[in-house]
């Protein structure tokens, strides 16, 4: 095995060390004199013994294999993998933000509290809501928090509502969040245009309906045109409307969930508002609510006294409680604040306009070569079908693998499920026309290769560290440990 593919454990040599510790200047204690024997390991941990330079080279090499927005175009539909301005990284690292302790007295963290208070009102204004909690740490955490708020609201009215309705075009985490929050999910099929089927919705709602969860624009990149009628149907049945903000990059400053009739909304700050996304966090999924749900918000929120001072407001007797330690992931909230303040209302509107324009431009240019799944204008993302390539034995998976050779992260594939051989492309607003054109040209070339030299596409990728993986065997007979040595 070449050294650059070795595990750090395989580089280990007995006795090799990166650093020699200075002589201990405090009395040495044996571990077993201070820790109960049952809690001590019997033999030393098998940590790799390596030089400092081995560590640096090994991890630098691994980091170069990463693909991120900072090294290339990443049009992963439904994920909003956009460029995050480095300015906001600087702001989040200001010592006045980065070196605070959450238990500092309020009087010594007025600036940070003001930032949180302003962000609460900015997000409420952007979504058309009456109050916001900044605690949830991610989108799905926001969904769960929102559903717990909905449950608390119904229970406070003496109603027991057990069902959450989820369209089949909704964000994939919705049914999972509903299940974790203790609800039964009811799936609603989309109509042939990819919209919520109003008749099916009317048949599905009842006095056991707690909420309808909806992403608008939907995961298909389509705006639910009849959203007000949808809201009326759910409200008339006594249910509430939950807005999944996964796709809010398409509507900032243009449309507000609160005006559409939604009662609860979460936003993914790590998608839309300047936090690098895709490495597993940290994220932030603030939740906004209409006034009737304010009594149930998690405590504390940030309040402001008559004298102008900011404080942790824990006075909310009907609160569902705390959903995250302290105030949420503060560094992410700082980035979002800096992002909103940098752009301002007009700038945020331009962000969404350009995200939608870029998606429509790409969709139009690719339409002669791939099938556009839904006609008309799309929002910030669009769905193509690779079904016409099946005639040459080439599938969407092969197109995705071939894109790696051109230096792109592939789009989302095989989602949404209701489109055959689907590809879901979200360019975001942060890419230049040249980048969009280069990606489009690669997609067109792959469509041509599929026809003239399908084997070339079927064997891709050629330029990556590992070539085509056998995904079926990996899933059927997974090997989950590494035998080193």
């Amino acid at each position: 095995m070449k050294p650059d593919k070795a595990l750090i454990f395989e580089l280990s040599r007995p006795g090799r060390a990166a650093y020699s510790l200075p002589e201990c200047d405090v009395p040495e204690l044996c571990a077993d004199s201070v820790i109960p024997a049952g809690l001590l390991r019997a033999k030393p941990a098998e940590l790799p013994e390596v030089y400092e330079v081995d560590v640096i080279r090994h991890y630098t090499e691994l980091s170069r294999r990463n693909f991120g927005v900072d090294n290339g175009f990443y049009p992963l539909g439904s994920c909003t993998m956009k460029y995050n301005p480095k300015l906001n990284e600087d702001v989040a690292r200001f010592p006045g933000f980065a070196k605070l302790h959450p238990y500092q007295p309020e009087s010594s963290v007025q600036g940070a509290l003001e930032l949180l208070h302003t962000l609460q009102s900015d997000l409420a204004a952007l979504t058309g809501m009456d109050g916001v909690t900044l605690q949830p740490a991610a989108g799905a955490h926001g969904e769960w928090t929102g559903l717990m708020l909905i449950r608390a609201y119904h229970e406070s009215r003496g109603e027991r509502r057990t069902k959450v309705i989820v369209p089949d075009s909704s964000h994939g985490t919705n049914p999972a969040s509903a299940a974790v929050a203790g609800f039964e999910t009811v799936t609603l099929k989309s109509d042939e245009r990819g919209m919520v089927d109003l008749e099916a919705l009317k048949a599905a709602v009842g006095d056991d309906t707690a909420a309808l969860m909806l992403t608008n624009p939907s995961t298909l990149g389509l705006f639910e045109e009849r959203i007000v009628e949808i809201a009326d149907i759910v409200h008339e049945a006594g249910g509430l409307l939950y807005y999944d903000g996964a796709n809010s990059n398409a509507i900032m400053g243009i449309a507000r969930p609160g005006d559409m009739g939604f009662d609860v909304v979460h936003l993914n700050l790590h998608k839309t508002m300047s936090t690098p996304h895709g490495g597993g966090g940290p994220g932030a999924g603030p939740v906004g609510v209409k006034s009737k749900l304010l009594p149930f918000l998690p405590v504390p929120t940030v309040g402001r006294r008559a004298d102008g001072a900011y404080f942790w407001d824990g006075d909310r007797p009907q609160s569902i409680g705390r959903v995250k330690a302290y105030c949420g992931n503060f560094g992410i909230l700082v980035r979002a604040y800096a992002y909103i303040r940098t752009y301002g209302p007009e700038g945020l509107r331009r962000v969404s306009e350009c995200a939608v324009l870029n998606a429509n431009y790409m969709m139009r240019r690719l339409a002669p070569y791939y099938d556009v799944a839904f006609p008309g204008v799309c929002k910030h993302e669009f769905v193509l079908s690779g079904k016409r390539l099946k005639a040459f034995g080439v599938r969407t998976l092969d197109v995705a693998k071939r894109l790696l050779d051109f230096g792109y992260h592939p789009p989302t594939i095989y989602f949404p499920l209701n489109v055959e051989e689907s590809m879901m492309i979200e360019p975001t607003e942060t890419e230049s026309k040249e980048t969009l054109d280069a990606f489009i040209d690669a997609m067109i070339r792959i469509a041509e290769e599929a026809e003239t030299d399908p084997q070339l596409v079927l064997n891709a990728p050629y330029t990556t560290v590992v070539k085509r993986l056998d995904e079926a065997t990996a899933a059927r007979k997974p090997v989950l440990n590494c035998s080193c040595g």
Binding site: Y414, F415, E420, A472, A475, R476
Partner: protein, 129 residues
């Protein structure tokens, strides 16, 4: 082109049902369904003895692309499941109508009634068109 086997009954959700004897119906997914799912890596089936109604979800089929539900096209009691799919889920890709079968159901009601809502091979062909 996907195979649609003559003599079987089909659901719109891409299951097939085959009458085996008076009361027993064998159920699987169609060739079209397996080709859409791609390489199948895991099949979760119900316990024998489970009561099902027509259209109920009775298990799930996981492929490299997605997880999809298995619906029983008929109602009754599950009497047998294809244990060989536990170790060899690829049988569903290779022989969806034969060794890739999924469950057997003993009909709860009238046999003719149970098949009434299902499609013929011809009807399923039109459904796919």
């Amino acid at each position: 082109m996907s195979e649609i086997r003559e003599g079987l009954a089909y659901s719109r959700e891409h299951e097939w049902a085959e009458k085996r004897g008076e009361r027993i119906v064998r159920v699987g997914i169609t060739d079209y369904a397996q080709s859409l799912l791609g390489d199948i890596v895991f099949v979760e089936l119900p316990e024998p003895g489970t009561q099902v109604s027509a259209g109920d979800s009775v298990g799930s089929i996981e492929s490299v692309k997605t997880v999809s539900e298995l619906y029983s096209p008929v109602g009754g009691t599950v009497t047998a499941v294809n244990e060989s799919l536990v170790d060899s889920p690829e049988l569903v890709n290779g022989e969806p109508y034969d060794s890739g079968w999924m469950i057997e159901v003993e009909l709860g009601g009238d046999a003719e009634e149970a098949f009434k809502g299902l499609l013929t091979a011809e009807g399923y062909r039109e459904h796919l068109a």
